[in-house]
């Protein structure tokens, strides 16, 4: 199969039962994407497939043949952090960090679709990304801040 991950093309053979998260982590060594709940609930494994966020733990690699994938490793522009990444650090939107790649990829999908979301829209979109450390308040703050910064930049 063929796919593009963070702009890099890959041709790779995978067994029929391989999940996308295993493909990314084990075959491509992109361990920034995490697997936690394994049943599509927690959001730690969130990646973008052709711009849509999906749960890579319950998606087969074979489903993304020909697709463009963005993982956490592809969010920053080289060493230049994405406004969301900066905002998460500055607002305390992370603690242990295990859910953070999924949070940021999901929030990126949100801001790509809706550059100025309300608090309610953020909560609706992000409720599929569980976090046990922060109680979510500082994550919400970070997303609002990133939206503000990006808005000014436009």
């Amino acid at each position: 199969m063929h796919l593009t991950v963070n702009g890099n093309p890959h041709d790779i053979d995978v067994p029929a039962g391989r999940t996308l998260v295993d493909l990314l982590r084990d075959d491509l060594g992109l361990t920034g994407t995490k697997e936690a709940c394994s049943v599509g609930v927690c959001g730690a494994c969130t990646v973008l497939v052709d711009g849509r966020m999906v749960a890579s733990c319950i998606m087969l690699a074979a489903q993304v043949d020909g697709a463009e994938i963005v993982t956490i490793e592809g969010v920053a522009d080289g060493e230049l952090l994405h406004p969301l990444q900066r905002a998460f650090v500055e607002a305390g939107g992370l603690q242990c960090g295990i859910c953070t790649p999924g949070q940021i990829v999901a929030a990126k999908a949100l801001l790509d679709a809706n550059p100025a979301p309300t608090e309610d829209e953020i909560a609706d979109w992000m409720m599929g990304n569980l976090c046990r450390c922060t109680g979510y308040y500082q994550i919400r703050e970070a997303i609002l801040e990133a939206a503000r910064v990006s808005g000014r930049a436009r």
Partner: protein
């Protein structure tokens, strides 16, 4: 007031960038050449003798490198203090989920298939799941050989109640005889999973006679100590290497599968990695304990509490092994910071055929506080005294001895409660079926030993060496602030060198847990920075040709009498060598200082469905100096929301001893859509511990939430739920029952 430049300033996490870019490595991200995957066979019986295990088909499967059972690890016992748990079941299983056999194979799929091929024949034994049943006469005894385990003493009478502690003060019986009223009530709490999103992971490689370990534990030195006994190795044969830890909340104190991964690595001659899945996490983790608390409380007509009896039963599960002290606290939390002269506090830990409990955020605290604060609220309402006034009347002030028996310097509990009440608008008008309830908790900072090493390099960079494995709460950031403060450099100048367990040069290090990280390690970092400063002064004095006493360091500058100001970095660069300061600190002594939290929950109850909506939580804290406001608020936010889950949503459910809530689809934790408005109030810092007068914040915020919500429900609709979690169905039934009783 000291003027600080780094301490107290909102400081972004020092590990933030690597975490937001996905570069931070967790134990599950590590790969070693030749690494095998380990998987487990768990017991599917709550209590049974193992008649036979046949591993031949599993061994014969291509790609399988090792299969081990209890026979292969006989005599290897695990336990933080009480070593009562065999590494793999030794002829007997005591809970559904117990580890029975393990396989190491080339890949996950092969390992799973091999596990499926292991055949076990069991002979069922009678099982007990409930603490009351387990201490009843004739109950099956889980550990007849209790007194023979390392870390135990024989019991006077064989019992599942392996620890029964009683403390009594005052004229207990006399006070009950003279009381105007005696209130009796029973409360119970559920098992709760820590629900960290990184499962337990163990990677072990045995090379050159040493076990190299990557696992997610926050207490590497203590775990190494425990492993010496379990694995039969000398301390120097075990090295725990650093990885980031994906959440802990108490659950990562004990590395569940690590001893098994070691024996698989030994048996296969290859590195072995085991990653638990969440079925295993929920079925066989180390959850917060279920408890049952019975109270008998003597109260005078004016609302003065005169005597209090606590019987606090802890459902230990099948083993005591996961509890660092063999037992948990909480019994004294069920007595609390109240001025009650006559008390009897009983703490009873009971074995049952269920998943063994471990630590979770303020172990025993939320259980004891839920029971006590619900009970007192019920008493106040029955006496028709406002719950706030009732508490104020009985809470300790300076010089009082609390019922808990704790010694507390400058207890600011009343001030904290009043601050919460004021910020919450406690006396404001309420809509129909809306209620407000309060609860109080406290937690002192734990003690321990810690190490640090600060090196100032000729290029001006500063390295902080530490043995701490930060589990996410932000210890590295506060340590960087301390070093930056003491050396007068910006925080981003500090680089970290995180040591493996060899790094302390043989010194012990208590790691993280019990709110000790800030207390112990700020002292360690402070001392190492001071030591480095002294060394720097010596080097500067020599280079500048002045007496050490004449060298003054002011931020980046070094001043000498009459001399020109220089930056010390420039002079150190001239010298061309680095200077180092070290510390090993022992902060095990009691502090007599605690941090109180008072919370007020405002809820709306739908009387037709029993649904409880938490509208608002006000959380007031008696704090010391706040080192990092971002991290401090993060602890409060996260703690409160865990408390919300505990109160309303989360429960490991059981059927015949088997955990049935086995995924995050069934075991629900709060989402972003479920969090209420949160108002935080911090009291003006007044006292604290160590060089910066700090207090711990990690544990208190999650302690009172459940009781505050239960009390708010009582305020809203007049019913009391005395068993957690407070599901809509329980509220609905209670309302129905009251309706039926009224007719």
């Amino acid at each position: 007031m000291v003027d600080y430049h780094a301490i107290g300033t909102p400081t972004p996490r020092v590990d933030g960038v690597e975490k937001v870019t996905g570069r931070a490595l967790y134990a599950g991200d590590r790969r070693l050449p030749g690494m095998l995957t380990g998987r487990l066979l768990h017991s599917h019986r709550p209590h049974a003798r193992i008649v036979r295990i046949d591993t031949s088909a599993a061994r014969a499967l291509p790609g399988v490198h090792a299969v081990i059972t209890g026979d292969d690890v006989r005599g290897h016992l695990y336990g933080r203090r009480i070593k009562d748990m065999p590494v793999l079941a030794d002829g007997l299983v005591r809970y559904f989920g117990e580890r029975v056999a393990a396989v190491a194979a080339e890949d996950e799929e092969t390992a799973r298939r091999a596990v499926d091929l292991i055949e076990v024949e069991y002979e069922d034994l009678p099982a007990v799941f409930d603490v009351v049943d387990a201490i009843a006469p004739g109950a099956p005894l889980l550990h007849p050989a209790f007194g023979t385990y390392p870390g135990t003493q024989p019991l006077d009478v064989p019992s599942n109640a392996y620890d029964h502690t009683v403390t009594e003060r005052g004229d207990f019986d006399g006070a009950f005889a003279e009381a105007d009223f005696v209130f009796e009530r029973t409360f119970s709490t559920q098992r709760m999973h820590q629900a960290y999103l990184e499962p337990h992971t163990s990677l072990v490689s045995v090379t050159d006679g040493r076990a190299h370990i990557w696992t997610n534990t926050k207490a590497p030195h203590s775990i190494r100590e425990v492993l010496t006994v379990t694995l039969g190795l000398a301390p120097e044969q075990i090295v725990l290497h650093h990885s980031h830890i994906g959440g802990d909340f108490g659950g990562k104190g004990t590395p569940l599968d690590l001893p098994i991964a070691y024996f698989l690595a030994q048996a296969s001659g290859r590195p072995v990695r085991m990653v638990a899945d969440y079925v295993e996490e929920f079925m066989a983790g180390n959850p917060r304990h279920a408890t049952l608390t019975r109270f008998r409380t003597a109260v005078m007509r004016d609302g003065t509490i005169t005597a209090h009896h606590v019987e606090y039963f802890v459902n230990s599960g099948a083993y005591a092994a996961y509890k660092p002290g063999g037992r948990i606290g909480g019994a004294t939390r069920a007595a609390g910071p109240y001025r009650i002269p006559n008390t009897r506090i009983e703490s009873i830990h009971v074995y049952t055929n269920s998943v063994p409990g471990g630590h979770m955020r303020a172990p025993g605290g939320p259980q004891g506080v839920f029971a006590l604060e619900s009970h007192l609220d019920a008493i106040a309402r029955e006496l028709d005294i406002d719950p706030l006034e009732f508490r104020m009347h009985n809470l300790i002030a300076e010089g009082d001895e609390p019922a808990s028996g704790d010694q507390i310097t400058r207890p600011r509990v009343r001030e904290t409660l009043q601050a919460a009440a004021d910020a919450a608008g406690y006396r404001d008008a309420k809509a129909l079926h809306v209620g407000r309830g309060m609860a109080i908790g406290d937690h002192g900072a734990g003690g321990g030993v810690g190490n640090a090493e600060v090196t100032i390099h000729p290029d001006g960079a500063v390295t902080l060496g530490t043995a701490i494995f930060d589990q996410g709460s932000g210890t590295y950031t506060t340590l960087a602030q301390v070093v930056a403060e003491e050396l007068g450099v910006p925080v981003d100048r500090i680089r970290f060198e995180i040591w493996d367990t060899d790094g302390t040069g043989g010194e012990d290090d208590s790691g993280i847990g019990g709110s000790r990280a800030t207390r112990v390690n700020t002292v360690a970092a402070h001392a190492a920075a001071q030591d480095a400063r002294t060394a720097l002064t010596r080097v500067l004095a020599a280079q500048l040709g002045v007496a050490e006493a004449d060298v003054a360091l002011r931020g980046p500058d070094v001043l000498t009498p009459g001399g020109e100001p220089h930056t010390w970095a420039a002079i150190l660069a001239e010298v061309g060598r680095s200077v180092t300061g070290r510390s090993h600190v022992d902060e095990r002594g009691p502090t007599h200082m605690t941090g109180f939290a008072a919370q007020i929950a405002e809820v709306a109850v739908d009387p037709e469905t029993g649904q409880v909506t938490v509208l608002k939580i006000t959380s007031a804290h008696d704090v010391g100096r706040v080192l990092n406001p971002i991290g401090h608020q993060g602890q409060i936010n996260g703690g409160v929301i865990q408390g919300l889950g505990y109160a309303l949503m989360e429960e490991l459910t059981f059927a015949d001893g088997q955990v049935t809530s086995l995924s995050f689809g069934d075991y629900k934790i709060p989402t972003m859509r479920d969090v209420p408005q949160l108002t935080t109030v911090l009291l003006e810092p007044d006292n604290g511990i160590g060089p910066y007068q700090i207090k711990g914040i990690g544990e208190t915020p999650n302690t009172p939430v459940a009781a505050a919500i239960a009390n708010a429900i009582a305020d809203a609709v007049g019913i009391r739920i005395s068993d957690l979690p407070i599901t809509a169905e329980k509220v609905y039934r209670a309302l129905q029952n009251r309706g039926a009783a009224a007719q």
